[in-house]
């Protein structure tokens, strides 16, 4: 993510959204804590799916930072186990993997965004805030994956309950392209002459489509065509 609005000066610890870190690498967890512990409240940590489900259920944080790869089932398993009981908990996926199918599967399970682990501390804080506020976070890479997944929407019969879900509107595609080009919401709004609120709406509609669409491609595409 490259957000232009620089983060405000570090607030005292204990403010900001509450966060639980789920990652099986202790080193990475302590790194994240050192980097963003000042601007968000890190209330708990977990290293496995089972641990994560317990900790999240107990602490009910605003946001869960979730590694896509976990030893006993991976990120999607955590989301699937927690969301039905605690629909207010929001998940932001973090991963070292750039494999499209990993990213898409964790989003489809219910995560509200995806960022790579090389993200800067300031950008990560910003992404956590936005997820806590109910927004979705499309890193350029995720935007690229989604564009690719919804490409050639008319190839082959796709038996779907709701064909509306199976393709992106031209406007949504434009928004995604600009996200993939590294634009911030404000810049996208300026470029397309729409308000930031409208950009947010487009982004969350895209996420909803990604999660609800039953398109064959979405479950299969990543295996067929790998991309950078």
């Amino acid at each position: 993510m490259t957000e232009q609005n620089a983060p405000t000066a570090a607030e005292p610890a204990g403010s900001g959204p509450s966060v639980v870190l789920v990652d099986d690498h202790a080193m990475f967890r302590s790194g994240v804590k050192a980097e963003i512990g000042q601007s968000v409240r890190i209330v708990g940590e977990a290293a496995t799916v089972a641990e994560a489900v317990t900790v999240i259920g107990h602490l009910k944080p605003d946001v869960v930072l979730l590694d896509v790869h976990l030893p006993d089932g991976g990120g999607p398993a955590v989301v699937a186990a927690v969301l039905p009981q605690h629909p207010d908990v929001r998940f932001l996926a973090l991963s070292v993997s750039d494999a499209a199918e990993d990213v898409i599967s964790v989003i489809r399970s219910g995560a509200r965004g995806y960022v790579t682990k090389t993200i800067s501390g300031a950008d990560l804080t910003d992404a956590i805030r936005r997820v806590a506020e109910g927004d979705v976070v499309f890193s350029p890479r995720l935007a690229g994956f989604v564009l690719d997944a919804f490409r050639d929407a008319d190839t082959g019969p796709t038996p779907s309950v709701d064909p509306e879900l199976d393709q992106l509107t031209p406007r949504e595609q434009e928004v995604l392209r600009l996200l993939a080009r590294g634009y911030s919401y404000r810049e996208i709004g300026a470029e397309l002459f729409i308000s930031i609120k409208t950009v947010e709406t487009h982004a969350s509609n895209v996420l909803r489509k990604l999660q609800l669409s039953s398109r064959h491609q979405l479950t299969r595409w990543a295996a067929d065509r790998r991309l950078v």
Binding site: T2, Q4, S97, D98, A99, T118, P140, R141, A143, G144, L147, D148, R151, R177, A180, R181, G182, R225, R226, L227, V228
Partner: protein
Amino acid sequence: MTAPAPPPYLFPAATPGLRPPRLYRAVRGRWFGGVACGLARYLDVSVWLVRIGFFVAALSGGLGILLYGAFWIVLRTPPDQPQQSRRAAVEFVVALVIGAGVLLANARTLPLGWWFVPVMLAIFGGALVWRQASETERDRWRRLSRSSLAAGAFDRTGALRLALGITLVLAGGVFVLFQTGTGTKAIGVGLAAVLVTVGGLALITGPWWLRLVQELGAERTERIRNEERADIAAHLHDSVLQTLALIQRNANSPREVARLARSQERELRTKLYGSMVPTGTFAELLAGAAAEIEDTYAITIDLVVVGGERDVDTRLDALVAAAREAMVNAAKHAGVTSVSVYAELAPGSSRPGVTEAQVFVRDRGIGFDPDIIEEDRQGVRGSIIGRLERQRGSATIKSSPGAGTEVALRMELS
């Protein structure tokens, strides 16, 4: 009869060349059931040779027709060329009628023993069921028969199989011992006895054979996998250790440390997640250019490519070169630590059948006034704009001091 396809584990994906050609019924160029065509293709002889063979065999007591029918029932059509089921059904009924006709015509000479009619009925019934069954059902039956053959002697199927095998062997023995009569009949009975005995033996020793084959295959797969693992591990350890040593030595130069860490990370990624893109494609060349610039100028390039699996021709090559130049400019002049690059190959909006290639190179650096690209700034004028115009493409540069720069490159491909 076709040999069953070898189990996949005998031929790991790494060696696809080992698969023998499969015998199928032909769909194209066939006259009737496609048996002759398929056989001819499999044996690599003229189709007429096979047809004449069947014809001659058919004249000599209907054997050819029986053979043809048997092939037809057993052989599948190639999986990639589905045939219309209605046509197949019609053909099958016709074949049944002909087969019954041949049998009735030869009724006098056939050995109409007490067993003949039920056996014939069973064969035809089985054939019908087999033909009508869908591919998945057939696969299930095959698996079932395989698993029941492999079942141990102590569970129910295994015990049943063992009992059946022993019964058949005993029956074969009894046949031979108690056979009376002489001449051809004796030979026939003897033959039947031998067949029954062999069948029984196969049932008894089946599991052992199967296990032998499976173990061989499994052992081989395991060996290949281990070699591969050892290979990757050795390479990784070596390069990671090298990098760590270099990082220690350059600890006081953050820029160098970042560069080393980045290139090591890239290498690990390629190893772990496989090479993500096919070689020689637009996506791969862009990724290569980005990697090189990352290493040279110690910046991060966030590259996103959509639909880049297209082999590069002269024009796309020019596009990659221009994009590379734009990245170099951003790395050198913008004063930033990261650059966003987005590239896309997509159906063009202007005319159908045209692919539009676009690359956007964006930085949030110091920016400049594009109206005053100085004469000596060959980078922009020659390497980017000129290069694209020569290939019927276009380059636009959006920049203002303080707000960063975006270079947009476009090109239409047929």
